[in-house]
């Protein structure tokens, strides 16, 4: 098991290196550079001199090499807008993003898992149809529009909740609902279909026949077998909101990483953009690996495969 965990984390290294190169390369293609953005008053010759001094004239590979060497030593360069260490700026913004991601996924899970289970238990009932309708709408409503509509309703008309910023605890409510709704939509579908696959299996009837209470049939016997796709969905939704909350953060002026990236793009702060995307990707990759490892704990079949004991299943399952 430990070997599996270590292996998964070691595999991350080449992927992260490649990701960083791609992001660095793409951002490098952006027209204009930091010199243009911040020393626009200089003449062309002075700008060239500046570039030479900052090493911006070197080929992209060399600059990337320098960047990654620095990154490995915990130095991703200085943000040209904030005049501070890019890593420091990123980590100053990270808690807000994590907070939003956490509350968002919590809202989603609280809605989706109970209703998904209920929908699967009572297939084609009113509650099932309502859940599916919710899922369909939740997937189809653009996040940012939902956010704006919530602002119109609760901030401007009812004046109940703040529409932007992160000053009081009430600030999180609207952004969390915004993110949570679309996540809940996906999750409710996953939960329902995953439960439906399990719920007709014979072993549940066996359990019932043995006199196990219905509640424990559903929540222990069925749910634990339906859990893997649900965990996958929760994990991928959480990952998505680490970096993908760009739009929601900008709707609610939420001071997180997403807005940092957009602001930095607008100010041509290359160092900041690359560092923020790199770090975000790193965190989301780590979450993906952690979710994979979680499977092993949830599903004894996967655990058996990596525990070193060679039983029949371990051989069959690659």
């Amino acid at each position: 098991m430990i070997r599996y965990v270590i292996k998964r984390f070691l595999l991350l290294i080449p992927i992260l290196l490649a990701v960083s190169f791609i992001v660095y390369f793409i951002i490098d293609l952006t027209p204009g550079d930091a010199v243009d953005a911040h020393y626009s008053e200089l003449s062309t010759e002075e700008k060239d001199e500046m570039r030479e001094k900052m090493g911006l004239n070197d080929p992209v590979i060399i600059r990337y090499g320098r960047y990654i060497w620095g990154a490995l030593h915990g130095d991703m360069g200085e943000s040209t807008t904030y005049h501070e260490d890019a890593i420091k700026v990123y980590f100053a913004r990270l808690p807000a993003t994590l907070e939003l991601a956490f509350w968002g996924i919590l809202v989603a899970m609280l809605i989706a898992i109970p209703f998904g289970i209920l929908a699967a238990r009572k297939q084609n009932s009113l509650i099932d149809n309502a859940s599916m309708l919710f899922g369909l709408f939740g997937l189809s409503i653009p996040n940012f529009w939902l956010g704006l509509m919530l602002i119109i309703m609760f901030s401007l008309n009812l004046k109940l909740l703040p529409s932007n910023g992160n000053e009081s605890w009430t600030s999180i409510i609207l952004p969390a609902i915004t993110i949570g709704t679309s996540q809940a939509a996906l999750l409710i579908r996953t939960t329902r279909s995953s439960m439906l696959e399990v719920i007709r299996q014979d072993y549940l009837n066996t359990a019932r026949g043995k006199g196990v209470r219905e509640r424990s049939v559903i929540y222990q016997h069925a749910l634990s077998n339906a859990l893997i796709p649900i965990i996958t969905a929760v994990g991928s939704q959480f990952t998505a909101s680490l970096g993908g909350a760009v739009i929601t953060e900008s709707v609610f002026a939420w001071p997180g990483v997403g807005r940092l990236i957009i602001d930095s793009i607008n100010t041509r702060d290359e160092v900041m953009v690359v560092s923020a995307i790199m770090l975000t990707t790193m965190f989301s990759s780590i979450v993906i690996v952690v979710v994979d490892i979680l499977y092993a704990f949830v599903d004894p079949r996967i655990k058996a495969r990596y525990s070193g004991k060679s039983n029949a299943f371990a051989k069959k399952g690659r």
């Binding site: 653009p142 993908g244 760009v246």
Partner: protein, 307 residues
């Protein structure tokens, strides 16, 4: 599905005969698909709505003049609330929001469809090659896809649009590239199951050329999950495109793209909330219709639900 398989098998041995049979069987496959699809009321409703939307996009080309009705400012009529004259009101430049929405339909549909074409072309091709040939090729392709998949797709699209500037084509390509790894994975998984089927072995044994096996036998049989994903991705792409436009990274102003209109309306949300209401509704209805179709297709194609 079975008919198709049988006919595919026979076409290598008897070209003439199989031509006819292929036609017959593919018609019956489509007919069967249509029959299953039709049973799903939501999907049919989605299809009707989508047809209406497409018709709107086409008809608007002939009825609306871009220069005078879409981008020209009309200061005397700015900020008019929705009325019989202006169904959705007018914006900060006095332009009719309803007309702009109608005209904007084409952008969303085009971006949605073209970006998915892009993902299909890159993702599905690579996925099929990886699944069919396996080995080193598979390793290389899937590792490339592994590299792209942890980058949140919205961020990747943001990066690409900043790097290559604003515009429709960039927007399509950015969203298409960001979604391609997912297509590669689905196509590969689907091909892996098809590859082991006996009819592929039969085709190989009868000396069919590789490209022919892939195009005639593997592709059609592995396509269902890809097609469902493609439909749903059209919906996602429309949302993503309007999101990027909303951030100011999508189509340039004054094009009446829905996301861009939302973003313009946002500045006036306090007093003229209808400016944000209608573009969002337009996006939602379109996306809803496509999602309904996608769900219907998936149910119709899922062999597990057939019986």
């Amino acid at each position: 599905m079975d008919n198709k398989i049988i006919s595919s098998q026979s076409d290598d041995s008897n070209e003439m005969h199989s031509q006819q049979e292929e036609e017959v069987s593919s018609v019956s496959y489509l007919a069967e698909l249509w029959r299953d699809f039709r049973k799903n009321k939501g999907a049919v409703l989605g299809l009707i709505i989508l047809c209406l939307i497409i018709a709107t996009a086409i008809v608007s080309t002939f009825l609306i003049d871009y220069e005078t009705q879409i981008v020209e400012m009309n200061i005397s009529e700015m900020f008019q609330k929705p009325s019989l004259k202006h169904w959705c009101g007018t914006d900060n430049f006095g332009r009719d929001i309803f007309l702009r929405l109608i005209y904007g339909t084409r952008y969303s549909l085009l971006i949605g469809v073209c970006s998915v074409m892009f993902s299909l072309l890159i993702g599905t091709t690579l996925g099929i090659l990886a699944g069919y040939y396996g080995g080193v090729l598979e390793q290389v392709i899937m590792r490339i896809s592994d590299v792209f998949s942890p980058i949140p797709s919205m961020l990747l699209a943001v990066c690409l649009t900043t790097a290559f500037g604003q515009g429709m084509v960039v927007l399509m390509a950015a969203i298409g590239v960001a979604a391609a790894p997912a297509f590669a994975q689905v196509a590969r998984a689907s091909v892996l199951t098809v590859r082991e089927q006996e009819y592929i072995e039969a085709a190989k044994a009868s000396g069919s050329k590789e490209y022919r096996i892939i195009l005639r036998h593997v592709l059609p049989n592995a396509l269902s999950p890809v097609l469902v994903q493609a439909t749903l991705q059209v919906a996602n792409a429309i949302v993503a495109a309007s999101g990027l436009s909303f951030l100011g990274l999508g189509v340039p102003t004054p094009m009446p793209e829905w996301g861009a209109m939302l973003s313009e309306g946002r500045a006036f949300i306090r007093d003229y909330s209808y400016m944000t209401l209608f573009p969002g509704l337009a996006i939602m209805i379109t996306v809803l219709a496509i999602n309904m179709i996608g769900d219907g297709l998936r149910d119709a194609m899922d062999p597990k639900l057939k019986r």
